[in-house]
């Protein structure tokens, strides 16, 4: 009997924290993020109603139908009710998936636009590296035997390939604001995961696979990138940042990095 008020209080408490948003998403920084948040809120409202109704109904029957010396009603069920709640749930659940399809398609079905800036990502235990193709727009050839982590080259740039001469390397990701970016992602040892909460996007990076993702970041700022797939003892420290810069700052950064090579 005590259980009914406890269930109600817990339910109200849980609903409070989802309304108060004390611990919540960081603000999104692109259209995809806004769409994502809209889909999340749609789902949250549906789920919130289902959750609250179910818990309150449970509390209600617990409070109402406690033993009182009378006789329980006798019923083996009701096929009409079964059909009703089965189809209602199915429509609700499948409807949500259908509504979210466009968001998923935008990330995974659409190709990156042809003018997207390509950046290669190399994830390894327990650091991130990024490679830009330089003014020639071409990535140079790499070879694992030429890897020199101590010198800041986890890719293994081949000095004999002219296309690689102007490649730029960086330990953090720098991107220009409002431009389509295409990340070409590789992992050298185990599985890692590229995650920028503000982008509302993450992707596993798997050894032996080349996995591309693309996005646009519309807000200047520095955003953290925590590794989000268990990769070993340093997993919790495998962090870098994504800096979204004005186009001028980005060009300046490239020039400076090239000059410091």
């Amino acid at each position: 009997m005590l259980l009914a008020p406890i269930i109600w209080v817990l339910t109200i408490g849980i609903v409070y924290f989802f309304v108060a948003k004390t611990w919540w998403f960081p603000p999104p920084i692109n259209q995809h993020g806004l769409d994502y948040d809209a889909q999340f809120m749609r789902t949250l409202i549906v789920v919130g109603i289902v959750f609250t109704l179910a818990q309150f109904a449970l509390g209600y029957v617990i409070a109402k139908y406690r033993k009182n010396g009378g006789k329980a009603s006798f019923s083996h069920g009701n096929n009409k009710l079964e059909t009703l709640w089965t189809s209602a749930t199915a429509i609700l659940f499948l409807g949500l998936v259908v509504m979210g399809t466009k968001i998923w398609a935008g990330v995974h079905f659409d190709e990156a636009p042809p003018d997207a800036i390509p950046i290669e990502v190399m994830a390894k235990q327990f650091s991130w590296s990024f490679r830009y193709p330089g003014p020639d727009g071409k990535f140079g050839h790499t070879d694992l035997h030429l890897v020199n982590d101590a010198n800041g080259d986890p890719f293994g740039l081949d000095p004999k390939d002219p296309a690689g001469k102007d490649d730029l390397l960086s330990g953090s990701l720098k991107v220009p604001v409002g431009k389509p970016i295409k990340l070409i992602m590789h992992a050298r040892d185990v599985i890692h995961n590229f995650f920028v909460p503000e982008l509302r996007m993450k992707q596993d990076i798997v050894p032996g696979m080349e996995i591309p993702i693309h996005f646009v970041a519309d807000k200047i700022g520095i955003y953290e990138v925590p590794c989000s797939e268990l990769c070993g003892l340093g997993h919790f420290q495998m962090r870098t940042t994504m800096q979204v810069m004005s186009e001028a700052d980005f060009e300046q950064w490239k020039l400076q990095t090239a000059a410091n090579k």
Binding site: L2, L3, F17, W23, F25, P26, Y36, Q39, L44, V47, F51, Q55, L58, I62, Y65, R66, A72, S73, F74, S75, H76, G77, N78, L81, E82, W85, T86, T89, A90, F93, L96, V97, G100, I103, W104, H108, F109, K124, Q125, R188, V190, I191, N193, F195, P197, M201, K202, Q203, V206, P207, G208, M209, I211, P226, E229, L230, G232, L233, H235, F236
Partner: protein, 590 residues
Amino acid sequence: MSAPSHAAHQAPKSFIWKYVFSLDHKVIGIQYYLLGLFSVLVGMSLSLLMRFHMVNPTASLAWIGKLWPTAAAGGVMTPELYLSLMTMHGTIMVFFVLTTVPQGGFGNYFLPIQIGAEDMAFPVLNMMSFWTTFLALVVMISAFFVQGGAPLAGWTGYPPLSGAGPLTGPGEGAGQTLWIISIAIFCGASLMGAINFIATTVDLRCKGMTLMRMPLTCWTWLVTAILGLLGFAVLLAAGVLLILDRHAGTSFFLPGGMMINDHIIANHKGGSPLLWQHLFWFFGHPEVYIAILPGMGVTSQLLATFARKPVFGYKAMVYAILSIGFLGFLVWGHHMFMSGMNPYSAMAFATLTMCIGVPSAIKTFNWIGTLWGGQIHFTTAMLFALGFVSLFVTGGVSGIFLGQPALDLYFHDTYFVVGHFHMIMGVAAIFGMFAGTFFWFPKMFGKMLNETLGKIHFYCTFIGVYCIFTPMHLVGIAGNPRRYADFTNVEYLAKLIPVHQFMTYAAYFTASVQVIFLINLVWSWIKGPKAPANPWNCTTLEWSVPSPPPHDNFGGVHPVVYHGAYEYSVPGAAEDFIMQNDPTPLPSGD
């Protein structure tokens, strides 16, 4: 359908055949239960150490330094020790608690009695299945004591982290090998058990026990066994391939072109890390239902018994169990939305995942329908069953977020996932076990458990688990990745540390109130009041025999069943329940 005599065997006289290598399903059921009880205490202790480390990453505890002189030199736990604890917590809980207790424990003890059989179909196989499980547990725990310690690749053991040997980290040498061997042995044990459960249900039902008269518990044990048979076979194969990759130079899961810890890996080429994930989750998702289905069965049984009403929509419940079992094999890809698999397949897996939510919702509706208009007796067993329903709803609805690939783009591998699966597969399933314990302890041990202690334990645990696992959803929404040893290296996680502290205190509280349960078990077993044959006025066959039942369950009598499993409060009947083997016809006709 009457029980053939080959299942019966003489009652053993000597201690070793009666209590150790017993062929009696009842003794084996208790053995499984005790193995699970030991495992849950180990698994819970590991989780407390993890929760301690997450909020006190630099604290030094002398006794931890003594337990792990290398991994916690000076008493400060290292990140690799944290990951070992995490891996072993998940593995021990999933395999040796959630898989063994509901099925191997309660299923073993009560499936034969509830269907009117004298024993399982293959008693020797049953005994071997338990001792093989025991061996698997010994091998698993031994991983703590080898060079490098226990593995750190998580309970999912993704290669290359788990497949490339000690280069990928401490614990990835002998510890990871023992982990795989233990899992493979466990798979063998589960396959033996699954065959036995299926054969028993199909062949040994007594006269009159049609499938549609079976208690819902039996339906869930049957479907769980089918899931085990198909799932563990695949996991066994995957485990063998992983061992071959590690020790025989094959490349099933290891691609070429890897460089690990400054070493170029030249001897592997052409493998696929995703292949492991497909094989693992082909087992791993049905495993979720292996853990939760028996809890659903127990809950259905208890709600009817203590509301004094027939299960609402028995047939719908059976179809829901069957469709959960079937769809359970078609949704494994929702664990892999971010894995790099073909993004178009995500749409199919998402649609099927939402479909599997439907039978789960049906069950919830029917549980509330069962309670509606009832006369609810608030025994401790019933409280745990009601708690199960509440936790099942809470754990279930978060799945509606995670099942959408679009929303998983953010939530994958965050604490939102950790909160979700602990709610539903962890604590809801464990509430099913507590419910089963309070309901069946009188039958198993012939003594009643203490109701006052039971209720204190229930309320503390119910509030405690909500306090541990609800905040996980919130820090998940804030973007907290899972499997982090501490939260000091990522700036935006700093503001979440107070929430983690709260969860840690909630975990200490919840763990400590489990002492009440242990005291209740031991005290009641020794000093508890004697249990009558049918203390709950329940309808199913196990309550038609003495507590505890004789060696052959029915004392040489072959029971005959005349009614469905849940004939409560039938209008015109003398009492508010009609036992399944009561030959008097129902007043309103059957």
